[in-house]
Every structure is written in C-alpha cells, then in structure tokens.
Subunit: 304 residues, 2 copies
C-alpha cells in the first residue's frame, strides 16, 4: 500500500464519483479505477459500492476513508514538524553554563532572546564547572555550554570565543588595599589567595596564575573553591583576596570591595562550546547566530 492509494481513496469518497475524482487528482479515470481496485484487492474487501450514478462507501470504506484522512493529515503534520525542527523552531536544547556566566550580561540576554525567538524549543539549563561542561557536551548530556577557556583543545568540540572582560581584584571590605583606586598585581604578592583549583578553573585559573607570574610572583592560595560565587563569599569572610571577572561586581556581596587592576589586566574569556558533529544542527546555528548578534562588535573576540 502506498499513500497514493489513500489519497485516491479519499478523493473518490469526497467526489462520490470516479471520473470527477480523477479530474481533481489530475489523472485519468481508468488509472484511478485500477488503483482503487488494487487497494480493494489488498484489503480484501470493496470500499465503494458502484451505483448507476456514482459510487457510495461501504461500511469498510467508511471506516478506511476515515483512517486514511487522519493518516494523510498526520503525514502533512510530520512533514511540517520535520521542517520546523530543521529550522530550529521546534525541539529542545540543553544549555550548560559555568557558575559565573549568568553575571555577565551577555548570557541572560542570549537566553532570554532565544526563548523569545523560539518559544516552541524546550530549553533546559544546567550549571557545572568548565571541565564538567566539556565532558557533558562531549557525551551528549548538554548541547552547548558557556565556559571559560579549556586547558587543551578538545578534538570533537567546537569552541566559539565570545567575550573577554577585564578581571578585578576582590578584597575584604576593610582591607588596606581597598584605599587604592587601581591595584598593581604585585601588591597582592603577600596576600593570601582564594582561587579555583586548576582542574576546575581551567583557562581562567591559568590566566590568573599567568598574570601573577608575569607580575613577578606566585600567588599563595590558602583556599580553593569551585564556583566564583563561593570565592566571593570566602573573600567576604576575610579568608583572602581573589581575582575575579569584572561582571562579578554586579553581585553586591556585603563585605567585598572590587578594584581594577593596573595594566596589563588579566582577561576573563567566555566561549560557547558544542559538538563538532552538531555544527550544522539548527539549534546550535541559531544559538551561535544569536550570541554573535548580541555580542557588541567592540567586545567581540577574534578566534585564537
């Protein structure tokens, strides 16, 4: 059986007339008769009662035509659905992000705009560390993720650099250095540091350590944390100082002061990663297009 048989069958049922149905279908009457006969042979029962004037449905025909209409509608809907999914208008996307991502204005903006543009796409969000997100994307638990730079190139992943913002020093409020407007990194050489472990902080950790080394010292880490929000809270508790992305200043945590760093200023980079295999996937393309569009040109970072 083919859809042709269903289409013809429905046309005859609508017209109650072979010749007219054939005209509607744009074919001749004999082939229509033959196809209907073939269908009736396959079903093992007549679908139409041939009358002197046109035809009428048998009970089996009534039942079958009813089903055929539904099936043809379903085929159309399946077609439309596949097209919508292909355009990324329908389906789901699982987006991951690091703890600090929501504080950079770009990310909430992207998420909000994505929901607005593709309301039929089920969007789920997940927060993990950068290496955790890389793993999640690789094994298809998450489709795309906003992360800090990875320590090493991942073969199956694509990475789109998005923004690089200045980092700032986070100090306990009463700290002596808080009096200064702009802090040279070397001033922090004797300070206890609250930082990510390298395994968790990935590229961001490297950037900070690198900047300190360039300034001529190795930071003395007294406390590690896996999330920026924790780091800020630990600084507020007076455990030490830290260097965090400037966007963290938006979190007005009691007991923490932020100060800009004297040049050269270390940068906190954000990238969007996704599976290379998905580079043609509509949701990914849409998300990429959106982030590129929402990233102001001056902020945009050239791929390394």
């Amino acid at each position: 059986m083919e859809l042709r048989h269903l289409r013809y069958c429905v046309a005859v049922a609508d017209a109650r007339h072979f010749t007219r149905a054939a005209e509607t279908l744009g074919i001749g009457q004999p082939p229509l008769s033959q196809q209907i006969m073939a269908l009736e042979r396959e079903l093992g029962t007549p679908l139409f009662r041939r009358l002197p004037r046109g035809v009428e449905l048998t009970s089996a025909g009534t039942a079958f035509v009813e089903d055929a209409r539904r099936i043809l509608r379903d085929v159309d809907q399946a077609t439309a659905r596949a097209r919508r999914v292909a355009r990324g208008e329908l389906g789901r996307i699982r987006i991951g992000m690091i703890n600090s991502a929501p504080f950079h204005p770009l990310i909430p903006k992207v998420i909000r705009e994505f929901r607005r543009r593709y309301p039929a796409v089920a969007l789920s969000l997940e927060e993990r560390t950068t290496p955790g997100l890389a793993a999640a994307v690789r094994n298809d638990t998450v489709d795309a993720a906003f992360v800090r730079p990875l320590l090493e190139e991942e073969p199956d992943l694509c990475s789109e650099p998005l923004v690089a913002e200045d980092m700032v020093v986070a100090l306990p409020s009463g700290h002596a250095l808080a009096a200064r407007v702009r802090i040279p990194l070397l001033a922090l050489s004797i300070e206890p540091f609250v930082l990510f472990s390298r395994a968790v902080g990935a590229g961001l950790h490297e950037e900070i350590i690198g900047a300190c080394r360039a300034a001529g010292f190795a930071p003395r880490v007294v406390q590690e944390a896996s999330q920026v929000t924790s780091i800020v809270n630990l600084v507020a508790a007076g455990l030490g100082v830290s260097i965090v992305p400037a966007s963290m200043q938006r979190v007005h945590t009691e007991g923490v002061s932020y100060r800009p760093i004297q040049r050269p200023v270390p940068k906190a980079r954000l990238s969007l990663i996704y599976r290379s295999a998905d580079s043609g996937a509509p949701h990914i393309l849409n998300l990429l297009a959106l982030t590129r569009q929402l990233t102001a040109p001056r902020e945009r970072v050239r791929r390394a």
Copy 2:
C-alpha cells in the same frame, strides 16, 4: 511522498546503516540512498548525518522517524480495521422490531447470539410499527428490522421470511367462549374486536381480516391499537376479543385467556427486512446467517 519513503526512512534509522537497511528491505543500497535523498529533498532538510561508519539521525530525522513509525502503525491498523469491518466484526448495526417481536423466542435468541458473536459491533434496537420500520430501513435510520408482512412489495428492500406461527384468540378471562378448548373463528362473528388499524398492522391485519372473511364474517372492530401489547391489555380490560400471535401467550396478562383456533388457523408471519443495497453488507449477511441458523428447519418458511 509515499509510504515507501517512510518505510525506508525507518529502516535506515533502525539499522543506522544504508547497506544493512537495504538488505533488510530486500532492495539494493543505491535505490535506498536515492529514495532517502528524494525524501530529504522534499522535506528540505537532511534526516541522516552520514558518518564514516554508518549514519545517525539529525534532530529533524529523529522527529520525522518518530512520526513515520506512528503513521506506518496507523496504516496497518487502518487495514486491519477495514478488514474487521468488512467481516462484520466491527462497526454498528441498528436493528428495528415490531412490538410483538420480542415475544417470539427467535428474536431475543438472535439478538443475544449476535452480541455474543460480534461483541465489537455496537448494536442498537428500535421499536416501531411495521410500516414505520419499512420507512426507517428505507431511509437508512435502521439497518434491518423484524416485521410483519408488508402490504406491498417495497422496491428497494429485501425481505427474508423467517417464521409463521399460529394465531390464537385472546378473550377476556370470564368470557363464555373461554370454556371451549378450540375456537372456530365464526364463533367470534358477534364479538367486538380489538385490532390494529390496517395502516399499522399491515400484513398481520390482512391475515386476520382475511381469515374472518374466509370463515364467513367481517369482524366488528370497536377499538384500534397500534401495538400488540396494547391490544392484549384492552382485551384484558374487557373491550373485546382479538386474534394475536401465539407467542403472546408468554405474556401472562391478568384477565386474558388464550384459545387455539380451529383450522384453518391464521398465521402470524415474521420477516427480516433490509435495504437491497445492503444485501452484501457484512452485518446484514451475519444477521441473516444467524437468523437462518437459529430458525429450526421445521419452522422455516419458504419465500412466497
């Protein structure tokens, strides 16, 4: 698009492999590739991602294959349904019957057995007069009906004679004639009659009047009724005597006595009528087969 495309698409999705899917389908790999490509062209999007080792579904492919599976299942179900309807195992049948029919053992037996054999057939029952039923069958309000003989042949209806049972005299209990074992019709010549009007009673009315006329008198009708049950009640109320089918004796109405009639005994015939157009319809065939089977051979009546 044709069902072929859906079948091929599902096969490839199952095998994740064109060559193996082609083997499963019993066709070569090149035609399979072509058909899938044609489908992808029609949908305007790839359904499969061609990998070095086999293929995998795109998001559009996942959505489409899901729908395709459902549609193919639906096609099978539609086929099965049409066959079941054709065999009369599924659907509905509207059966009509005259007021006196349920008292003849055949009719309840037929109805009961039909429900038992075809439980998936929705059976509805309707009670009307013989002419009312003929009209109902003709204009497709009822599919088949148990009726008394029609006054004249109806062109679009088929009539299957079923049984002819003796008629008996119904007397008010205290009536003088109740003393007799068997009543000659002529004894009723002076009695007031309770009868159907000719328009309602149709053939049964004719049979009674004809029998009386053969006995040498015309019954004096003092009260008309459109249902046998009413007639029995009116006899019980003492309005007159009547002649009713023997099976009415099963209704033990207070105040009525039944007595057999001396030969020649008028007969109450029962027929099954249905649209000639439906003579091939499965439910009708099943119902006919059932009534014929349940009518004991000795009771069976030869078609006039």
